[in-house]
């Protein structure tokens, strides 16, 4: 297994590499190129990188104008500002006209760490998911993140991608091929299905191992695409295991847990629990420590799995 790598690093490296292949690819940032890693693209393709300064709302509009002129713009900032501050620009200038703009948001969730609550966006999946026609993706590792960038380029329409600050291990199987709207069953299981994305996928795999030691056979699904949700896979896992746990570094309201709950309530009601940030703001601290504090770690996922299995 390769060393741990943050998906924001994968994002920047993929952009720089894909810039050679796709001439219409342009990248915008809002004074965070060093942090979002679009600086790697800037170095490789300085003529196609445009810093918009600390003015995210204008950046989204500029991206819209570029898309309307045949470019494939990636607009980057922290999730808090891309999805939060610029929500209405994304909604009205990108989502409503369904423009070919790609939003590369880094620093999603509480693993932003020491910067604390103002920068820990745990609402972006919810905000972006509710925009009609918006695709929302949160890759789990380096392998997947790189493929997500190219998949977004080849898809025509708006895409919101969340990349993380914290280094994560590779979880993708050998020869993995990411496809928008398709989840990936990483480990099959009979007793409970853990549906996770982003940094929570590796935590879910660890939880599954811990559960196995206690005699619970937990499946793990990497559900990188939150919208459109792979409902077929969600329902299949619910039918197969009879119990579902979602895990995401996002509020339990409106994100992956919300999407899966909506799907199951309508198509296949089974006992379900959500692991996520519990309707609260984040706080400063080392990322790994925060995962424990906010009950987003493998231990917390395993606890929820045991609870939900009892409800069957």
């Amino acid at each position: 297994m390769a060393d741990k790598i943050a998906t924001r690093q994968s994002y920047g490296e993929a952009l720089a590499e894909l810039g050679n292949k796709y001439e219409n690819l342009v990248v915008l940032d809002a004074d965070l190129a060093a942090a979002t890693k679009t600086g790697i693209f800037k170095k490789a393709h300085p003529d196609r990188f445009f810093d918009c300064g600390i003015a995210e709302n204008n950046m989204m509009g500029v991206a819209a104008g570029l898309a309307l002129s045949g470019k494939i713009p990636f607009a980057s900032s922290f999730a808090m500002f891309a999805a939060g501050r610029s929500f209405e620009q994304v909604r009205n200038s990108i989502g409503y006209p369904h423009l070919n703009v790609k939003i590369g948001a880094t620093h999603g969730g509480i693993t932003v760490g020491e910067d604390g609550a103002t920068h820990q966006c745990c609402e972006d999946f919810a905000l972006m998911r509710v925009i009609p026609g918006m695709t929302v993706i949160s890759p789990a590792d380096d392998v997947e993140a790189r493929q997500v960038v190219e998949a977004a380029i080849n898809y025509v329409g708006p895409v919101y991608m969340r990349f993380g600050r914290m280094a994560v291990p590779n979880v993708s199987p050998e020869g993995y091929k990411f496809e928008i709207g398709k989840g990936c069953l990483l480990k099959d299981g009979a007793d409970v299905a853990i549906i996770a994305n982003g940094v929570e996928v590796s935590e879910a795999l660890a939880a599954s191992e811990a559960l196995a030691a206690e005699g619970i056979d937990a499946a793990v699904v990497n559900m990188a695409t939150i919208k459109p949700l792979d409902e077929e896979l969600v329902v299949r896992m619910a039918k197969q295991t009879g119990a579902v746990v979602t895990a995401e570094e996002h509020s339990v309201i409106g994100g992956l847990g919300g999407a899966v709950a909506e799907c199951l309530a309508e198509c296949c009601p089974v006992p379900m629990k959500r692991v996520g940030v519990l309707d609260t703001f984040g706080r400063s601290g080392p990322a790994k420590e925060l995962l424990g504090l906010f009950k987003l770690d493998a231990k917390a996922i395993a606890e929820k799995a045991k609870e939900v299995v009892k409800l069957k």
Partner: protein, 273 residues
């Protein structure tokens, strides 16, 4: 400007204004005041200036027009219809549930609409992106963005102003329809955004004053904007809200209200006189 051409443009602008009143009356809603104040500017740009082809509204190298003050959709639709993008008769479907003429401009539904607008401050940013793309393409196409004076209270307008100057977008020109009124009253009383010249100059723009109802003035302003190299231009066009319909002129209550039958007949009679 050539006197014959000028009188032709005046005639077109008169018909554009009639179309505005027709649309708003048919819809029983909409924004006549700012549509009428911008009618001459719209007429000049669409009939005299822009390199466009109504038969090929998506031509890649056409000039672009962004109606950043999207609520004046009656003005935009009327000029587009008269320019040949769709039948003038269809203006009467404005705001109806089966119409392609939405309350605010929708590029997916209406031929000739270059950007979906309505949320103030956003159109100008898209115009910046279009101008940047033209530079990247090495194209000589130009981008025009019409904005409102009240709209300039939006912070995003000034973000865009920084951006356009920073990237030396001299193929971009904003036209500021300075009619002096916004929904809650005179702009000077609601939230005074002036002085425009000093502010835009401080942001690095070429600022050109114009009379929004004088084709000679608009003509020389547009030529001055196109002649300016190395920085974006803004035409600060002093206008009269409701221009052309005397009872609507300088009356803020006509910002977003439709005439009743009697008022409609009076407005049309005055415009046709």
């Amino acid at each position: 400007m050539d006197e014959i051409r000028k009188s032709e443009l005046k005639e077109i602008a008169r018909n554009v204004r009639i179309g505005i009143i027709d649309a708003v009356y048919s819809a029983s809603s909409g924004h006549p005041g700012g549509s009428l104040s911008a009618a001459d500017i719209l007429t000049y740009l669409y009939f005299e200036e822009m390199n466009i082809d109504p038969a090929n509204p998506d031509a890649p190298d056409r000039d672009r027009f962004v109606c950043s003050k999207g609520h004046i959709s009656p003005g935009l639709y009327s000029v587009l219809a008269h320019r040949g993008y769709f039948p003038v008769e269809d203006l009467k479907t404005f705001r109806k549930s089966d119409s392609y003429l939405q309350g605010h401009p929708d590029l997916k539904k209406t031929p000739g609409v270059d950007m979906t607008t309505g949320s103030l401050g956003q159109g100008v940013s898209a115009a910046c992106g279009m101008a940047l793309a033209a530079k990247l393409d090495g194209s000589s196409r130009r981008v025009w963005a019409l904005m409102g004076d009240g709209e300039s209270e939006e912070g995003e307008v000034w973000e865009s102003a920084m951006f356009a100057a920073h990237y030396k977008l001299d193929n971009l020109c904003y036209v500021l329809d300075w009619n002096g009124l916004q929904i809650d009253g005179p702009i000077a009383e609601v939230m005074n955004p002036t002085p425009y010249r000093e502010k835009f100059e401080a942001f690095g723009w070429n600022v050109i004053d114009a009379d929004a109802h004088d084709f000679d003035s608009i003509d020389s302003a547009v030529k001055a904007a196109k002649a300016c190299k190395g920085r974006p231009s803004i035409i600060v066009a002093k206008s009269t809200k409701g221009k052309g319909v005397s009872f609507m002129e300088n009356n803020v209550s006509w910002h977003g209200a439709a005439p009743n039958e009697e008022q409609y007949n009076a407005a049309i009679a005055e415009l046709k006189a």
